[in-house]
């Protein structure tokens, strides 16, 4: 569970079907404050050639459908945000993950981190993305002209998450 936030701290996790507005999320985190020196955002988008190498029929992606575990997804991401807060001096963080059907070019996930310093903002954002990939309970179903397949987890994602490990979250 999140530690009670010192006043001025802004930490948000949302799981939603709707798209998000990156600019509004940056503004929500940083508006009216003068202690933030660095804001990093990561937007993950659906690519037309997502996992294209492994498409059995080589056809282009029509859409992804993201299934999630509603009771757990938000809780697990909150735990990752709490872990990030123990590691870096964050003044705010926002994670939004969409579910449902998403077509190429659309947003899937947003991570925003704010800190006095750039290193912390960069590292916390990369950490959140790496861990979110391997721990947040979401599953991508690919829809192509001739097939639908569940996307296989990537070993590269496990490796990316492992690089933060000494104490895992």
């Amino acid at each position: 569970m999140p530690v009670a936030a010192p006043s001025g701290d802004r930490f948000t996790v949302r799981i939603q079907a709707e798209d998000f507005d990156t600019a509004a999320e940056i503004a929500a985190l940083s508006a009216g404050r003068v202690d933030i020196g660095a804001v990093v955002t990561f937007s993950g988008l659906c690519r037309a050639d997502d996992a294209g190498d492994s498409a059995p029929d080589g056809s282009r992606l029509v859409a992804l459908t993201l299934e999630h575990y509603p009771g757990m997804a938000e809780e697990e991401i909150r735990r990752l945000v709490d872990e990030a807060r123990t590691r870096w001096p964050l003044l705010g963080a926002t994670v939004i993950h969409r579910h449902g059907r998403i077509v190429p070019g659309e947003n899937i996930v947003l991570v925003v981190t704010a800190s006095p310093h750039r290193g912390a903002a960069f590292e916390a954002a990369a950490f959140l993305m790496d861990w979110l990939k391997t721990r947040a309970p979401f599953w991508k179903l690919e829809e192509r002209a001739e097939a639908r397949n569940w996307v296989a987890a990537k070993e590269a994602d496990d490796a990316a998450a492992e690089r933060w490990t000494a104490g895992t979250p």
Binding site: Y69, M72, E75, E76, A136, P137, F138, W139
Partner: protein, 83 residues
Amino acid sequence: MKILYFAWVRERIGREAEEVEAPDEVRTVAELAAFLAARGEGYAEAFKEPKVVRAAIDRRHARPDAAIAGAREIAFFPPMTGG
């Protein structure tokens, strides 16, 4: 206890959730998976590579040797592919 299934585990079993009463000798996540695998063809298919299927106990990731005593909700699912 309540058991949930997601993604291809859900598709193979053909249901999202069910109430299950496991016998007392089923004490861990791995033992529960083996118990479920014996319930029919879809189950057997879902759990045929038990190391691939992940689990959560009461909405927290759990290892195969985690004890299930006292759990209200246990979920089985493939490796996550969000983000």
